[in-house]
Structures are given as C-alpha cells and as structure tokens.
C-alpha cells in the first residue's frame, strides 16, 4: 500500500474581468511528487480541479519564456520552479508584477512587445554583402562581446523585478535594453546610430537606478543590469562626442 498522498496548497491570484472587480485569491490542494514543477501543478488544477484557470505556457523547459509568474512574490519561470522547494508551506502564485493582469495568471504584455519592436531587434548589416562574397565573419572575441545578451528569451521576469518599470512604465526596461545592447555590441551590425536615440532618452538607460534585481532573477544569466549600465557610459560618451563631431548624426 502506498503511503498517504502528499499534497500542497496553492493559492492563485485570480482575476476574471467579466465577474471580478478586483483580483481575488483562490486556494487549491494539489497532490505532488518531488519532480513536479509549479507549472505541472497549475496544469493539474486546470485538468482536474478548475478548468476556468488561465495561464500561459508552452515548452516546459525554460526556453520559450511564456510561463513567467510571481511565485511567492518572486518572478520565476513556473516550469523551472519545483514544488519540493515549497513543500509543507503554502505557495502563492500571481501574474507577473508591474504588468496589467489580463486574466488570472496572464499578464498583458502589449507594452513590452511595442518596446521590443522599437529597438530594431535584428542585425542591420554594416556593409551589405553579396552572396558570392561569403558570410559575415566574426572572431571568438567579437562573439563574446554580445553572446551573453543574446540568450534572452523575452520572459519578462526582469520587468517584474524592476521597481523603476513598475513605478513608471515609460522606462524602456531591462530586457529590451539588453537586447538593444546585444545588437549594438555585434561587430556585424551597423544600426548603432539608430538605436542610440532610444538609449539616450530619459526613458532609456537613464531611468535605471542600478537596483540590479533584474540580473538576479534572469533565468538565462543575461545580466540585463550590466547591459543597461554599460550603455550609460556609451550614452554619456555619445553626448560629449557631439561637441567634437559637428557632423554627428545623433539627434
């Protein structure tokens, strides 16, 4: 006979716009095994206890960036967080902080997508090459300049960790600025002038006060705080170089 089934209580901050004026907590008791993730617990709730619960997920292996949520107040990927870390205690899940709640654990990310598009997150070739000229070559040293920042999966945990974004959502924010730096630091890219305008703006790097929590919560070790703060130096350099370069293109 198997031992008594182990269970854990999961509190979910629910919000159904058609019936709830404000979000409300709802508790579920879920059986758990040592290898169960928080995402699996939510899937158990949806399949067996309450089919109306909404949450985003896709890959279940920390690469799609869909299942970010606040787990006991900390921004985490629910597929990468295990119930065993919370066993015997109650666990509370909530939609990503600093974003509007669309429904239950689904955060509204329109603002993030608009910002992501604004930084031109793609290579703008420095010199156009024809097919017969071959590929764009890069040394390992040039690759290392941006490689870490290219690991971003757009999970937005860094936004949920950034109080400056929470207090004023005009701030471009850590993740998008890290991606901006990823392209600016790429030796093959020639779009720096176009992107520096966004870096130099009040809503660009200068809204960051070096809290540093974005880098702590990043599941991919991108270190967005490093990208943002390196660009404070770049932005200051840009500002002073304007005086030396009368034909400078920065506006």
């Amino acid at each position: 006979m198997a031992e008594a089934e182990k269970t854990i209580e999961i509190e979910v901050l629910r919000y159904r716009p058609e019936q709830d004026a404000t979000p409300v907590l709802q508790s579920y008791r879920v059986p758990f095994t040592d290898d169960m993730s928080v995402l699996q617990a939510l899937q158990y709730i949806k399949d067996h206890l309450d089919g109306t619960l909404s949450f985003r997920w896709s890959c279940r292996m920390a690469i799609c960036g869909s299942c970010g949520m606040m787990i006991d107040g900390k921004p985490k990927l629910s597929c990468k967080t295990f119930l065993r870390e919370y066993h015997l205690a109650r666990l509370r899940v909530e939609a990503l902080a600093h974003f509007p709640i669309e429904r239950d654990l689904v955060a509204g990310v329109d603002d993030f997508i608009v910002k992501l598009e604004s930084i031109k997150p793609y290579l703008i070739p420095k010199e156009p090459r024809r097919l017969e000229q071959g590929e764009y070559l890069q040394t390992p040293h040039q690759l290392e300049q941006y490689e870490q920042f290219s690991s971003c999966i757009n999970c937005m945990l860094c936004y949920a960790a950034c109080p400056q974004y929470g207090l004023d959502s005009k701030f471009t924010g850590p993740g998008v600025l890290a991606l901006l730096h990823r392209y600016n630091a790429d030796s093959r890219d020639g779009g720096r002038e176009q992107r520096m305008e966004l870096v130099n703006a009040e809503e660009g790097v200068w809204s960051c006060t070096a809290v540093g929590y974005c880098s702590e919560v990043c599941p991919k070790a991108v270190d967005p705080a490093n990208a943002v703060n390196q660009n404070k130096v770049n932005s200051a350099r840009d500002y002073f170089l304007r005086f030396l370069r009368p034909r400078g293109t920065s506006k």
């Binding site: 919000y15 509007p100 709640i101 669309e102 329109d110 603002d111 207090l167 702590e216 490093n226």
Partner: protein, 163 residues
C-alpha cells in the same frame, strides 16, 4: 498603459496592481533602499566637514569650538553610526560594480563578474591598509636606486602596537 484596442468587443479589462509599499515586498529592495538612504548620511557628513572648514576660516576660537563639538559623546556616537552607514554604502557599490563595467578580458578570456568583485574588495582593503600604515610613519626615506638604504621610522607594521 493605454486601454486595449477594441476593449468593448473583446471584453478586456486589464487590472493594474498598486505599487504602494513596493520596497518592502522583497529583501533585495530593502537593501537597495538602505543603499539609497545611506547616501544621505554620506552627504550629511560632507556638511559636517564643510562646517569644520568654515570654522577654520573664521579663526582659532571657532575652530577650537568645532573641535570641542566633535569630541562630545553625542558627536562620537553619531560618528560611529555614520561610519557604519558609510561602510555599508561603500560595500553596496562594490556589490553592484561588476554590473556597471564593460566585459573584461585577460589573456583573451572573459573574466566572470564573480571574479571581479573580490578584486575590487581587495583593492579597497589595500587602499585602506596603506593609508593606515603610512600615517604611522614619522620619517620616511626613499632611495629607489638603493632599496636597502630606504627606511620607514618607526618600523611599525600593520598589526604591531605603536610604542
């Protein structure tokens, strides 16, 4: 946040949570706020020193009264508190410093942030140790061409009691 497009059709009604008391939500934010708050104490100490400079410019009596004020038990207690606050403030910036630096390469290899931090702390310690050591020397003779002729008197070393 602008209202969602065609909200009436889709039934979207995004709910924005309050940011009230945000800095108490996570110990990380509390530490951040202490870093910011201790900056005010650093500024306050600058004012104390500025007052001393002003007193110095006003003559001996003013300077001596400032010195006396600095020696009062209240002032000593405040100095201890301010020292603790300043040490924490300096430490917190060493904590965040690797995040503000461009990538470092040594021998073609990238240096990890976890390596940079101990280096910075060591630099601070060496800076402080040298300051404490040199301030004890009464007489220093330096002869770069003949090191054995160089001398520091009294020959105190850090950790030795001054006689």
């Amino acid at each position: 946040m602008s209202p969602p497009r065609n909200a009436a059709v889709s039934g979207r009604r995004p709910y924005m949570r309050s940011m009230n008391g945000w800095w108490r939500r996570d110990p990380f934010f509390v530490r951040y706020m202490i870093r910011e708050a201790t900056a005010l104490i650093v500024a306050a100490y600058a004012l104390v020193l500025l007052a001393g400079t002003l007193c110095l410019s006003q003559g001996e009596a003013a300077w001596n009264s400032w010195l006396a004020a600095m020696r009062s038990p209240l002032s000593v207690a405040l100095h201890v508190l301010m020292l603790v606050a300043m040490i924490y403030h300096a430490y917190s910036w060493f904590e965040i410093m690797p995040k503000t630096m461009p990538a470092m390469f040594v021998g073609g290899k990238r240096v990890a942030a976890v390596t940079i931090k101990p280096w910075l702390v060591q630099m601070l310690e060496v800076a402080l140790a040298r300051r404490m050591c040199c301030s004890r020397a009464c007489r220093v003779r330096v002869k770069p061409g003949l090191p054995s002729a160089s001398s520091v008197r009294p020959t105190n070393r850090p950790g030795m009691w001054c006689t």
